[in-house]
């Protein structure tokens, strides 16, 4: 075990634990109300939202899963950069409309909005279930990230006890999420984001310096990929590996569709919507659409660590070890501890927000409408707090019992699922001519087709079309889903109550008086 690194790691972990419990008192509100516990009282201004959304969207996906894919396949893994570029024009156009209608009608989740807009209970239910199901593998990905750095510290990766450090870390996370709600990850996000920036700046200056500059990194990586492809082809049985520092012709369409599909998916997740709806006005959202790309640049630089791993000559049996192993090779122990803590905390923040988002959804859109319609505000919050624990246990079981080679596949499969609510959400922001039942049927068709195409000995996020190129299944099936909804809307009668009117989507929504508080000075 690496003692120095472990001590530094534990120090930072304890620091954020204390912050997590203390957060209950930060900008204190009545934590017995769901929008206090689950949306931090809808009072976060531009800067808090920037740190929270940044901490929430750029996760173990960014620091473990993307570099792993780059290490394994080269340029292909870089699809995450166009993905995170495409998100923000979409956010800029769509999210202010969603915030306005949600603030006017008190919506907390995607399913709240779809029910209010279409008056269709079946659609509300499937939107809610979609959000929860898609979140589980995404939380599992966070856990894989934490597990990789804990293994990097020198803890055994074999046997049942190997999960003990991760389980302890996770119990601590679950407890402070339970007591402090969204305030805990919002506060911890400050520490996390600053640590990640330090980690990235050090990595992209010091590692290239040691490896002789970027030109030699790309040259060495290119040679390493050529060798890996040749080795795979001559193995028994031969493996057809596509890898290199630019895309092979067969990777171009998968690359584009993965980027576009992932971008459509991201702001449909409960945790992203939680981040958007907890902001205090639409100015905050537009400001963030312009400033959050700073994190995308960080993501792009972190992705290059996969190439640096190749250039440094790492030979790994599991590509997901590339960032931890590269840091162990290149940095002194104390900085390894700091960086590993940054990665672990970087996984904790989104895991907390995701479990809160999923718990809000279950409580409001499954339990209340279908089980107990007469919950008090306090009962509703208790239910959500309990659910945040259950969702996390589910994700923990996921990684203990399902071994993974590429955690990024978790995220991409979750993306296929969550994309199926995109038509209901986005049509709903602009028109009521598409209505509840067709959207429900579109969802069923899209989901069934997705499962059919992804099914196989290995679940894969891309499908080889008969035309000879692969596509991201999620993008293909969401198009089918939307077409079904549009065509059936022409045929079926448009029934179902609509709570909203066109002006509800325009700027100018004011929050209820108890939520109007001046932005405190941090």
């Amino acid at each position: 075990m690496n003692v120095v690194a472990t001590v530094v790691f534990v120090f930072f972990f304890l620091l954020v634990t204390v912050m997590g419990f203390w957060a209950a008192r930060w900008k204190a509100g009545d934590l017995g109300k769901l929008d206090e516990w689950g949306l931090g009282g809808r009072q976060f201004g531009p800067w808090i939202t920037w740190f929270l959304l940044g901490g929430d969207l750029y996760t173990a996906y960014t620091v473990i899963a993307v570099p792993a894919l780059v290490y394994a396949m080269g340029a292909y893994g870089l699809f995450a950069v166009p993905y995170t570029v495409l998100i923000y024009p979409l956010v800029f156009v769509l999210m202010p409309r969603l915030w306005n209608v949600s603030a006017r009608h008190g919506y907390v989740t995607a399913a709240d909005f779809t029910y209010g807009r279409y008056g269709h209970k079946g659609l509300e239910l499937v939107v809610a279930i979609t959000g929860i199901v898609a979140t589980m593998p995404y939380i599992a990905l966070q856990l894989v990230g934490m597990e990789k750095v804990i293994q990097g510290l020198g803890f055994s990766s074999e046997g049942l006890m190997s999960h003990a450090p991760l389980t302890i870390a996770f119990i601590i996370l679950a407890l402070y999420t339970y007591t402090s709600g969204l305030r805990a990850p919002a506060l911890i996000a400050f520490v996390k984001d600053i640590m990640i920036y330090v980690f990235v700046i050090a990595a992209v200056i010091i590692i290239p310096y040691q490896l002789g500059g970027f030109a030699s990194i790309f040259a060495a990586a290119s040679t390493a990929y050529t060798e890996a492809v040749a080795a795979a082809a001559s193995a028994t049985p031969p493996v057809n590996l596509s890898a290199g520092i630019i895309l092979t012709p067969g990777q171009v369409v998968p690359f584009m569709t993965l980027a576009l599909g992932s971008a459509f998916a991201l702001f449909m997740y409960p945790h992203s919507l939680t981040g958007v709806l907890s902001s205090k006005d639409t100015k905050t959202i537009r400001f963030n659409a312009m400033t959050l790309p700073a994190y995308s640049l960080v993501l792009g630089l972190i992705a290059l660590l996969g190439l640096m791993g190749r250039a440094a000559g790492l030979k790994l049996s599991n590509a997901q070890d590339v960032v931890p192993q590269l840091f162990l090779k290149m940095f002194p122990d104390w900085f390894v501890g700091f960086s590993f803590a940054a990665i672990a905390i970087g996984a904790l923040v989104p895991a907390a927000v995701m479990s809160i988002g999923a718990a809000n959804t279950f409580t409001r859109n499954i339990w209340r409408p279908f089980v107990n319609a007469n919950m008090s505000a306090a009962q509703e919050t208790d239910m959500a707090k309990l659910l945040s624990l259950i969702v996390k246990v589910g994700a923990l079981a996921f990684i203990i019992f399902i071994p993974t080679k590429y955690a990024i596949d978790f995220q991409l499969l979750g993306g296929i699922v969550i994309l199926q609510i995109f038509p209901a959400m986005v049509f709903g922001l602009y028109t009521r001519r598409i209505h509840g039942t067709p959207l429900f049927i579109g969802w069923v068709v899209g989901m069934a087709l997705s499962i059919y195409l992804a099914w196989g000995p290995k679940w894969t996020p891309t499908w080889p079309t008969p035309l000879g190129f692969g596509v991201y299944i999620g993008l293909l099936t969401v198009v089918v889903n939307a077409l079904v909804a549009v065509l059936l809307s022409l045929i079926l009668p448009n029934t179902g109550a609509d709570q909203t009117k066109p002006s509800d989507f325009e700027d100018g929504a004011k929050l209820p008086p108890h939520q109007q508080q001046p932005e405190p000075i941090l």
Binding site: P82, T84, V85, L86, P89, F214, I245, P293, S296
Partner: protein
């Protein structure tokens, strides 16, 4: 106008066949990499321009 400004970075981003090459290099980075990284601040500028056009 607002939508055109927002569409430009999206089209550039999805022009993958155009930027899938090693040359021309910049500071040791193949074209594929520096173009992708450059897109990030460029798209932020287009969003900023769109917000100015929108007048908020």
């Amino acid at each position: 106008m607002k939508y055109i400004l927002l569409l430009i970075p999206c089209v550039l981003t999805l022009a993958t066949p155009f930027y899938n090459s090693v040359e021309p290099q910049l500071l040791g980075f193949p074209f594929f990499y520096w173009f992708n990284l450059l897109l990030v601040p460029v798209s932020a500028l287009f969003i900023y321009a769109a917000s100015k056009v929108e007048g908020r």
